[in-house]
Symmetry: D2
Subunit: 337 residues, 4 copies
Amino acid sequence: MIIMQPGATREQISTVIDRVHANRMEAHTNVGTRQTIIGVVGDRHNVPADQFESLPNVQSVEPVLKSYELASRQFHPENSVFSLGGFTIGGDEIPVIAGPCSVESRQQILETAQAVKEAGANALRGGVFKPRQSPYSFQGLGEEGLEYMAEARALTGLPLVVEVMAESQLPLMSKYVDMLQIGARNMQNYSLLRAVGETHIPVLLKRGLSATIDDLLNAAEYILFGGNNRVVLCERGIRTFETATRNTTDINAIPVLKSLSHLPVVLDPSHSTGHTSFVSAVAKAAVAAGADGIIVEVHPDPEHAFSDGQQSLKPEEFARLVKQVKAVAEAVDRTLV
Amino acid sequence: MIIMQPGATREQISTVIDRVHANRMEAHTNVGTRQTIIGVVGDRHNVPADQFESLPNVQSVEPVLKSYELASRQFHPENSVFSLGGFTIGGDEIPVIAGPCSVESRQQILETAQAVKEAGANALRGGVFKPRQSPYSFQGLGEEGLEYMAEARALTGLPLVVEVMAESQLPLMSKYVDMLQIGARNMQNYSLLRAVGETHIPVLLKRGLSATIDDLLNAAEYILFGGNNRVVLCERGIRTFETATRNTTDINAIPVLKSLSHLPVVLDPSHSTGHTSFVSAVAKAAVAAGADGIIVEVHPDPEHAFSDGQQSLKPEEFARLVKQVKAVAEAVDRTLV
Amino acid sequence: MIIMQPGATREQISTVIDRVHANRMEAHTNVGTRQTIIGVVGDRHNVPADQFESLPNVQSVEPVLKSYELASRQFHPENSVFSLGGFTIGGDEIPVIAGPCSVESRQQILETAQAVKEAGANALRGGVFKPRQSPYSFQGLGEEGLEYMAEARALTGLPLVVEVMAESQLPLMSKYVDMLQIGARNMQNYSLLRAVGETHIPVLLKRGLSATIDDLLNAAEYILFGGNNRVVLCERGIRTFETATRNTTDINAIPVLKSLSHLPVVLDPSHSTGHTSFVSAVAKAAVAAGADGIIVEVHPDPEHAFSDGQQSLKPEEFARLVKQVKAVAEAVDRTLV
Amino acid sequence: MIIMQPGATREQISTVIDRVHANRMEAHTNVGTRQTIIGVVGDRHNVPADQFESLPNVQSVEPVLKSYELASRQFHPENSVFSLGGFTIGGDEIPVIAGPCSVESRQQILETAQAVKEAGANALRGGVFKPRQSPYSFQGLGEEGLEYMAEARALTGLPLVVEVMAESQLPLMSKYVDMLQIGARNMQNYSLLRAVGETHIPVLLKRGLSATIDDLLNAAEYILFGGNNRVVLCERGIRTFETATRNTTDINAIPVLKSLSHLPVVLDPSHSTGHTSFVSAVAKAAVAAGADGIIVEVHPDPEHAFSDGQQSLKPEEFARLVKQVKAVAEAVDRTLV
């Protein structure tokens, strides 16, 4: 990692980058408000630091102690903030993403989209390719579902967050969605991470069921490395011995991720608890702990949902949640969008 | 569990209790604002429900589906609220317990007590018998430590919360402390739980490192069964695969415990994270999720603490935490004491 | 699941299968030594059992209680046994698969192949596409590695076991390898499982780091459902709180899997322990517990291995392991190949 | 840790020990076959090594890198072997401990004792004080149970292994039992460990449900530190996310413990699996992995057992297990007693 002096010129920065390339490595540049930092990635074993330290206006060359670099706060000391639809994520405002687990029908998604929009949601989630434990469970509507999602966006203005399960789905996905979700079970599907890294679509990267925080940041690094900087990390509960809830919300992960990385962090209290009765409490906890957003499952008729019914809120329950989360957000000097 | 009609007289209740005793079982009575519930504990296999259903003003006899009964919300539908020192726990107000991991010296504990009192703490914690992983680590000051704690109480008015490690320490402890703490490693030390159940000292029961929520409530049942009703449950992090933090705060446990039990629930963000940088975020999360209190490690000089220095806040950091937690408490319609 | 009478004719079986198809479901037939069982997969909600029970020589229609069916022992009461290279797996003989974590060079793999062959290995493992936690770690030699592997097979006669990481690698892989490995991190990459299920190449399916036994059998079901019956289940350690070893070998999984499923089960003591000193003890334990094979990492120069050096045995250590495992195999009435 | 030269005299060793005492520390001496090692325990911070290095025939003073010392193989390079009843543990022969979870009646324990004796058991287990999750479960027969156990010993010659739950039970226990068991839930009940360390009764120390291997060895250190050297470590399964079995047998723990410590290691396949169908496979695995013994629950009528019925073998199943374990023991160059 090469840190430039505050006054370094564009030309001087280019000189450093050329030297990086001459060493057959890649340079990723973070132009901060105060100074520019150049992340150097590739095989670093044989490159002496003094090759760079002697260049004009290079302040220092610092080793990267973690296996990830572009995802680290060391490389990018300020929070990453980027916009999606009409709001930003990673800054002061806290977006709420909501919608059903699966898109089940045109009517279901249009109805849900309007209801969550009214209740205060800023983006619409909905799965069309579903990673289900059993091959005999509902696998999603595929492209038909994407068309309904697009219609819901036209109706409400909400940007779309949809899970991508395979590289081969990317061309189709990229025609419809505003944010790609990588599901927990694919968090270490490195081929998919690489492919997504080569798109320019923002990514919501869910933590794997037994992924450590270090694993999660390395998975993000695969995407960043491809040139896609708009990655949001999502805590969605980890697998532990406790069976009273579907997963264990690792609330510690929020301040830990915020300290190690500049990327926005959101929490999914629906998956992290697995029961509607606990979603609201944990959503509030997330925001109190510093989360940059929440993503919540909402269904107009949870009892007849094709999937995740027991953890999906009804629209009116979701509306109450938004109101409560708003109060907590203000208590920690943030606002909902 | 025998549920009396709202208008049942004292005499009718006595008749039921006598019948319970005649069946060689014990009766625990919860006189609620609306109606009285009689918990029947003992060997229930051979007692037909209709023996009780036919008694005057018995509304119904309901089976207890859990292995615990007195700890369940079914038995005691309203929150348990009880007072300690000058505040209540389990009601609207949220007490903050603070102090060092170990009492190290007279000066250290007096200084800490004054500092945490000033910053807003309502009770003083401090260990004098320490359950340490290695027999070669500092084991605590014993009775000398209790005397310093008592002096700190005289100075500040703060009630004392001290861990008891063995039945044999109870006579000594009961002379000094206002609340007994059962540590995580002793949560299933049933002999100790029984002994503590026979005192009338309030108890802070910490969840074991790998105890399920069900285990914790059964451990509480041992204490309640002995006749000691003033039990506070404490989430202090569980052991999982994640190593970025000392433990994993199971934030889900807060709403889950509140739904299953009437007992107050507090969270210990110092042990549940293990690092000072994360204590404040998790303390706020706890209160947002519905915790009835927090217990925080504070030390005047954490770098030289005999134990737990890396997770102990300095008094000024603790003062900031209290201020932040206060704002979150108000956002969820609670107040600090 | 439709169970035919022992004497059912081919024609009667066809009639049942036609009826299954008429209901828009798929039939998977297991012709056992005693009687034929027809697994019916698809949406079973609306098909009345009596449609099938009344057909000639149908013994009974039994519900499937698990979410998987083709992988269950209920569907296929006898052990699945199939041949690979010159040996069988799933029967009395126990094959040993060995080789380096990564193919690093032509010399390394040829040397290792000869050494493991001599020491008693029956198949050669070696990764050419490596799922690495960090994008900056060695990612494998790709097709070049496959060519070296093929050369090693020509030299030693050992069939090749190679990990496939993405659907897009399948056409290349299928030209070279004898058995596809699905790695732990891809165990729930359902797109890949489906794609592999449509090949006719035997599969070694590794259990995910936090996959339950139920998850593993459902993952196998995805492959079987595609028509590929030759699936071997591989226990390779799970993620727990214990850090003394890289993973925790779930030795219980061996008898549990053998009781729930007809598929062969192998154990990978290299990954499940992570340290050469423990590989041999755990390999013996696996065979004593009923494993149908073991897969072991061997490297000619572990200290300079590109990956997994600390858990790779030297050829002479591996030779000792084979000798010890042989003795244990005989003690449980099995033999090495 | 002070290592004496091979030829050091008793007098020279005494001189070293006196110097240790002069520094207000304790000395624990291990007289090995080759040379004597003196473990120095207490506050080591202020004692310069050269005080000891200059004494006659001191070979070296070596730091202890672990938090435990007396339990480490560094302090005691040879296996600890000690005798119990008519057999040894820790050496070549492998004892089998068997019996019911709880002593339920005189007839039950006498019958079981004779049956397990006949089937090849070397010691009799049976609980009389039971640590039960719920206070309403059967808590054991207490002294009455001990009397029945003593009668069973008189009848069969089998030494008795009985769990002690509290310091206050020790005087009673010490009149009856040959080996004290510390249960998993009390593994970090340090008051109990200290008390047991001051007896001279051999101890079977069970690993806690979420205790690391390091925790277990530190718990053993508490007992050794008190002067009681006859400690046997017992792996009995740990708590993980897997629910197919009651616990997860950490088979890795066997070779890991044997490498870190000189103490004998046994495995309890009844608790570590929780189901009779898996006990035998895991018992064999334990011996194959290097365990020094096994402890198995056996009940004449498991379906009506007061506790642990689903994991208790019938006498005839146990007899088959012993036969199978014997074959595996011989395959790894050990023998049953």
